[in-house]
Symmetry: C2
DNA sequence: GCCTCCATGTAATTGGTTACATGATTCT
DNA sequence: AGAATCATGTAACCAATTACATGGAGGC
């Protein structure tokens, strides 16, 4: 018996798992690693959340176990029903998440600390963004998108590139606003 | 008796409330409205979460009730201890949140639907971003930042402007990738 | 008198993280 | 033999949303 009733609407995580399994069959362990990798820049989940969700997707018929490996490894693949659900989610529903931009929230309160501390805050953001940017650029340069799946990946990467670039520029600009006017 | 033990570390929401009260004393109702307004673009919270958090901040001595109004209205102000805690949070800690970019997550799976549907998805994002951008620009143009608090607000707004602009550009670029090559 | 808005609070549920728990396989 | 990695699962807790619940004040 599942703890979820049949008609219940699926979580974002459930759809993320369906989307990943739509590409290649994977185990819960593989999916966990995917969230620790490049996918982790847009969404993340721990194994403690993934395994119960897989159990539910299996019971609901959205995925099926196709292989069993060593150490109890279970490989899942998406079913036609699962693929239909994934497509329905992508086409019929719109993302509606309340934003959680902690770094930007903090910038609202920078007037409560010294200009020096505020400047250090923005400079740290800028430095970290420039670092990320370098990594993204390295990936983008050593990557040829050919399959539709790779094209989708490249499009997501492009978003990361552009947003990280403006974050670096904006943070430098913001740091400048907290610069002291030449105190000797 | 509180449900939280004395030494416990405060949530992001608790610090957000402290930051807002550092500007002007407000009631729980006012704070709720602030999250529904411009602050809601970077962080959001419902009254059901705010009222218990205020009760805890009061008990911990980070805020104090300074006024009582009609209909049970309670106005809170930050205390010196609260201000110290806010500054400690801003200076000593770094934001460490796992990202939840659902719109970008979806873009990874666009290869599973038809190019037409994928293009519609990105065009909807672009249209929505252009709309937001126009609103942000209107605010930015009719706004003169003079106080330190206003400068901080202007800096946050600038982030919104720049990021929304690249979102619009990126989504158009992405939509282009799913354009059909002239089918008659 | 009725409707809307102001104003506060609690309860139930879902989503997500950390901690607990176990065991097999591979590498050195 | 011991360590690192592979692999799965549950329990406890914190964060956040939705729903439930109540009542006062002001406008029409």
């Amino acid at each position: 018996m599942s703890s979820k009733t049949p008609g219940e609407k699926l979580s974002v995580l459930a759809h993320a798992l369906l989307g990943m399994l739509a590409g290649t069959p994977m185990s819960g362990y593989d999916l966990t690693q995917a969230f620790d990798g490049s996918l982790g820049f847009v969404w993340s989940a721990k194994h403690a959340q993934i395994y119960p969700e897989l159990a539910w997707l299996l019971e609901a018929g959205h995925i099926e176990q196709t292989q069993a490996g060593a150490r109890g490894r279970k490989v899942y693949a998406i079913t036609p029903a699962g693929r239909t659900e994934l497509q329905r989610w992508l086409i019929e529903t719109r993302p509606d998440r309340s934003p959680r931009q902690e770094a930007l929230l903090r910038s609202f309160f920078m007037w409560t600390i010294t200009p020096d501390d505020a400047r250090a805050y923005f400079e740290a953001i800028a430095a970290s963004a420039r670092e990320s940017l370098a990594r993204y650029e390295a990936i983008a340069n050593s990557f040829e998108a050919t399959t539709p799946e790779e094209v989708a990946y490249r499009i997501a990467l492009e978003s990361g590139l552009r947003h990280t670039r403006v974050t670096a520029e904006w943070a430098s600009w913001a740091a400048h606003h907290y610069s002291q006017p030449a105190t000797t």
